[in-house]
Symmetry: D2
């Protein structure tokens, strides 16, 4: 696999000199990520992550670059891969490799194994690299060879460690099942190669890891399953369910990036149009607010009667997709479920209706059925924007091939939103590293006072003046002056 | 106490003939309370509350009248008192006493012990009456003498039973402490009279009660304390923390009734004015939305950094009250804390600034300090609207004497909102009565599928079409087709 | 007509002592009418209306009381009647009669001929009184006997003068036509009595009048017709079409008073309901914004394609009433046309749908057809709220008997909005009185710099900081630093 | 000037083969321009523009391409140039040249003289070409040599004709003044070359022109001046002041394109930020609504007290820029005036505040002062996004170098908005061509029934159902059933 021998990012940087452009963007992003910058100010002197060796697997974007450099500023050593084959911003990767004080000629940053448009082979090779700390160990004269923390998004890094250890204990990697996905085949190949070299590499790595902090719903779901099965090897902090993550990322992130994606993809006026938002969870709430804010008339579909009632009380029509499909100009899915927009729906849509997804997987829209539809023709208007000419004589416009259009057609969540999420990540890393006794193997959410701290670190940038409780007031409602201020089940 | 010998509501009804007016209002309210009406349709035939004897203590309003008649329609026998000396709507009480099929001459309804403007003595006498089921027992030839369920708001009915039993076991009611509140003095008097008559009356009543369903935060707080101390005598369902209660009552109820109260009290244009909302919990969120919807510029104060960040992300200025006090035209407190608006604040306000509270107690605004301020003069503009002329030469307008202005200056939450809350109440009563084995002594929230059912029963009235999951979709997200659809900690 | 011998308002005041309550309300209203108060400050010293004798005919409300006392503060002598038989607030009338410095025993205010609930005979008697200045003339030793200015709302005062003069010139009042309206009969009677006493009374009065300022669309329409026919006897200023009148009164006034009226009439939750707003002019725009602000889903009907397109671009569904009549919970008309809601519509509505009008006449809803419908029954829920039981078995709720519900069920436009309208009135009176040479007989709108002045006088109260043009900037856009800032056809 | 000999767009098309990409975009744009497509349906059969020879000068975008092909579909012959050196979308130009039925090898479209990034020499050469109809005349065997209609944007085409004629009558082009702008120098050069060839070319052209329809405020302003000076040579229709142009283009266009530009330029989260909108005319109203819709807190600056009062009534803080400059994250100018943001303002801004203009000229922001500021450094983050490092140690981000950022950083107004504007254009061309007797030399706005027609043609695409007046209703309000529905001074 010859391509795997060359693409160290360091080389690419020297070659393509993206680092300076990336550094410009980092400087602007830092201004929008006050939580991370505040952590640098607060914890820079005390270096709580000194000694931490973090293997990170998360979209290698400009925002992640600010996260990485924050971890470094707090004392950590870091190796990084992306968690998605398409999401790397090469200039951000380059800037991180060069580092804030390095130059292209003499990089002084963090090893990053990620570039835009990896193959699956390359992707898992990259992931493997973040666990190979032999160079760092040699430089430090240390006896460890792996990381002691994982920062994960989607759980691929955690998966590799657990599967590697499992197969090492079993003595062999199993045969690849006939119906295995392409991705699983690649993983098995990677581990087969590994076992050919060492029979305890992943076992040793697993033993050395003090914990993982996980970014996403999907990754968290895997962790709970692993723990329920008794197989989790180290403690995990569920960053996803911090209020300042899930309620902000989903609602306010989508409110920003949905119209951005529609604009960049189609330039279509939203005002006066009929837009359908499937799902009125936090994603749907953000989407509906954004579309209304642009003058669209929004119709919501919902399965959950509580969310449906909320949508109605917020002034939206709530209908079944079938009832209104022919009136809708813009479809947006945000349910996290599959087959929300079916082929039958697509065949009943208006000519050039826009079909897009900000939920999760590309099966929210039944793209598979569309792609195999006899007589349908796909015309690329521009990258990530395709007109599908249907046998009905009408066309529909599908964005990002049914995948997340706020990533595919726009630039995803903005820095300020990611600053909330990533400040949770850093605090979670500090928790695991500095208070291991508090976290036996298990899955945890961050304690509420840290969730509140994340919010607190983002207030000054918005000019927010926070009121302080007097001791009498705090006593009156049964809290301390410094919080936490709410019961755990408070819904915000 | 001679007044206590006459005021049976039955007599008042005959005397004042309010019943017909009340029945008109009930008919209109029924149209706005689809949840309760749906329960009558669903459970009328099966009579799940047949045999239930419910002692109810909750504001005796038109909406409560529909609740009471729903309980009766499901088989229950009911006696009722209000939980507040001012909140009774006499025509509603009269209509309930007469009953849907009765006449003023031959009432066929429910005994109600409540009228607008009770004294504290009268209030606790009324509360006592809902536990005296001797007439019903005699008619039924039964050996019980009390209720077997309580429906409570604020916990006064529950308190009376627990205190009565406590003193009976102790053998005597203790001396009234020198610093006892007026209300506690009255309670002790009531129980002293009771013990003079019977030494086991409340003990017997307590033993006969299968559970209580509690409406409010305050009442729920008391129940958790009682249970933590090991003193709770029967299971309790915390209706307050159903999503369809707390998220709807607080947010959408206040959104409706705050501007209504401001209008009825002052007729002041909200558009263009600066309004300050203290607290950005559900109450504050509803208040801020309502004021913005009328064109006011809203400033929020907050103590909790997460809620403060939400307010900022929703586009509101977040400031300390001190920073903006002189710019604000309308003050609204919704914190649930005390001393949120202090005397110093009031002295710094604009001339004729409006000061109002939709939070909880009247100490959110430091009315005590205002009332004892040297040189301040109180001028009644009309009932519940007072100009306080301050020594500064400026005046402020205080609504409802600092108490809940949406009740004092308007008519509280509208029927549709209360239908959500009360449908929870009825379902909770059914749960306790029909599935006692599921509820050992303790404090419970309603299971999520019932919370979802409450929402479901309110959708048709709003023209909401709910989407149904296919079995494949349900399996895909790990739920059943009929719900519940979310994990317990989901925040909505 | 014996009742006409007693009801001087001065007597009623002494009798009922409403004046003090009225004075409280005036003090509060003054705080909300900064334009009028600023005129008192600016023009009080120079007394531009000294010598002006103003006959006023305009709803005798608290806000009008502040207007009247402003005219007096600027030097005018005033006599007043209401322009509507129902709209007088008796306490306001009483307060004006007593005057700010008078007492009930020794009134020192303005003669007001108005009370709530006049008959038509009384109404026109009252209107007649504002033209009888014999007492004032006697006190002044003057040779005039009538006013020299009219301030009119709807044109009744202007009509009486013109008709009186016309019939005097003709020598007789014509026979009352068989198909004359009740009101026209009364007018003819009044003038017949007048001619029996004097053959040149109205001719003399008309000659003495320097002009009229007219408040409403209807009155303005009459003036343009009169002028087009060559019959207008004195100049008129069309106050209605000032931007600060029509754009503020209609849009922001209705935004305030529509939900207020719905609440006071029905207490029905607007959130989640389907509301239909007929007409998307300024009234409809205000109504739609208010309902959306309360969480209703708003559907608009329109005849004018430009306004319809605006409604769509603002995010509202635009439909024909027939298409959606069965889905609507709340109907609001604001078109200024007739038969907008027909009997057929009413028969197709949901049970207990609310039917209300904030447009103009009660024929926007075809009340006549409803009232003559065989088998319909009218049940008064409370004053101005009627359930109409229809032969279909369903009912509808009609507010204010189809008349303006923001007046009938609420208190009309709030003081701040009226301050804009009335500041235009006062400036118009000053124009006519101090610059008669600028206004030959004709109909005029106020010059734009005065319209801007009205706005300017309302900014401080809202904390608005206005930016000033530099001379260079003013020259650059071809205006002067002090305005006017826009071309005449600018649409705002 | 050798470059001028080659760049016929026909050649470029053959060379660069952009036409197909452009045709895709046209097809999508046609779906968003229902007004133009409806005109093709309505007037295609009758060919009202048969014989019309239109010289068009207007941004050569995709939307303009749809306009051009509409004119052709109605019978016109067309030659086109852009009215701006930067605004041409080359693929749109290419598609128009090729034409809907042509091929790159055999173009069958319209001669277009426009490409992205013209020099000023090239720009005026292009403008000259649209008046040279010798090829068309030769093909038709006709005796004319120029156009008989102009469709203008900004008035450059009209200017060239008038200046050319003026100098021909004078016998010579005057000396170029020492202080002439670069652009005026070029114009004089063009005309000098023309006079060297022909002494009556422009006079003949001017005599042959039946009128001009003008798109913009600036162009309209020039026309009124020309007419006031008695120099206008042919009638002009002011398309800019149609309601469906100015109220839609400015308000709804900016609402769409402002956030789009901010996103594409900076990816900065608008939610929670403080945004300042300078000017609350239609542009400012659209900008403020868009920013609020994204969760920003909006502060407005205004000079005109009426607009300031509107902003306050719409819930916005209105302040002077000086008072709040240090709190603002995003500055947006929309005043049409100069020096709205001065250098002093920029020096007082927060670090990395965003400075942008959607008003008109780049002097709304004093870019000249910034560019000449000692010690300031300009860093290009990406094209049209510059960080200016100021001597204060802070930076600001300037978008599009102070020019219109909705064009420079986004794609300008969306097709649907332009469809309104351009439908006015086509109707105005038809008016001038088919009813010349109705338009003696002068400047006209389109009659209101055509303005209403434009709106009407855009309703179906939005699913709007328009209500029809009954004859009785129409008579009642004094209009005809088909409109126009409002008086001319109605403000919408």
């Amino acid at each position: 696999m010859s391509t795997l021998t060359t693409p160290t990012v360091t080389f690419k940087v020297a070659d393509i000199e993206l680092a300076e452009a990336g550094r410009h963007q980092l400087r602007l992003a830092e201004n929008e990520m006050p939580g991370l910058m505040a952590l640098r100010d607060e914890f820079g002197p005390s270096q709580p992550l000194a000694g931490a060796r973090i293997a990170g697997s998360l979209h290698m974007t400009v925002q992640t670059a600010v996260l990485i450099e924050t971890l470094v500023a707090l004392g950590a050593t870091v190796r990084w891969a992306s968690c998605n084959i398409f999401s790397t911003q090469d200039e951000a990767a380059a800037a991180v490799v060069v580092g804030p004080t390095g130059t292209v000629a003499e990089p002084a940053g963090v090893p990053v194994f990620a570039w835009k448009g990896e193959t699956l082979d390359e992707y898992w090779w990259c992931t493997e690299q973040i666990f190979d700390w032999s160079a760092e160990a040699a430089a430090a004269g240390a006896d460890w060879t792996g990381p002691n923390l994982i920062l994960d998004d989607g759980g691929d890094a955690t998966l590799l460690v657990h599967k590697g250890r499992e197969f090492e204990l079993a003595g062999a990697v199993p045969e690849t099942p006939a119906d295995a996905s392409t991705e699983y085949r690649v993983i098995l190949d990677v581990l087969r190669r590994s076992l050919a070299t060492s029979t305890d590499r992943w076992t040793t790595i697993a033993d050395g890891i003090g914990g993982v902090t996980e970014e996403t719903t999907t990754g968290v779901h895997r962790l709970y399953e692993l723990h329920a099965a008794g197989d989790l090897r180290f403690p995990a902090i569920n960053v996803n369910d911090s209020v300042t993550k899930s309620k902000f990322d989903n609602k306010y992130g989508i409110r920003h990036s949905l119209p951005d994606g529609l604009n960049r993809a189609t330039d279509v006026l939203m005002g006066g149009k009929v837009a359908l938002v499937a799902g009125y969870g936090d994603v749907g709430k953000g989407a509906a607010e954004a579309l209304r804010g642009q003058g669209a008339r929004v119709i919501v579909t919902e399965v959950d009667p509580i969310c449906a009632l909320q949508a109605a009380m917020d002034g939206f029509q709530v209908a079944r997709l079938e009832s209104v499909v022919g009136d809708v100009d813009i479809f947006v899915t945000g349910t996290g479920n599959k087959d929300v927009i079916t082929l039958d729906h697509m065949l009943a849509m208006k000519h050039l209706a826009i079909v897009s997804n900000v939920g999760h997987f590309d099966n929210e829209i039944d793209m598979a059925a569309l792609e195999s539809l006899e007589g349908a023709e796909r015309v690329e208007i521009k990258p990530q924007v395709h007109e599908w000419r249907l046998p009905t004589g009408r066309s529909i416009l599908v964005l990002s091939e049914g995948r997340l259009m706020n990533l595919g057609n726009a630039t995803g969540h903005p820095s300020f939103v990611m600053s909330n999420s990533f400040t949770n990540q850093v605090l979670a890393q500090i928790e695991l590293y500095t208070r291991p006794e508090a976290y036996p193997v298990g899955v945890y959410v961050l304690p509420k006072h840290l969730d509140e701290k994340v919010a607190r670190l983002h207030l000054d940038a918005l000019g927010v003046e926070l009121t302080e409780l007097s001791p009498e007031q705090a006593a009156y409602i049964g809290v301390t002056v410094d919080g936490p201020y709410k019961v755990d089940h408070y819904r915000y």
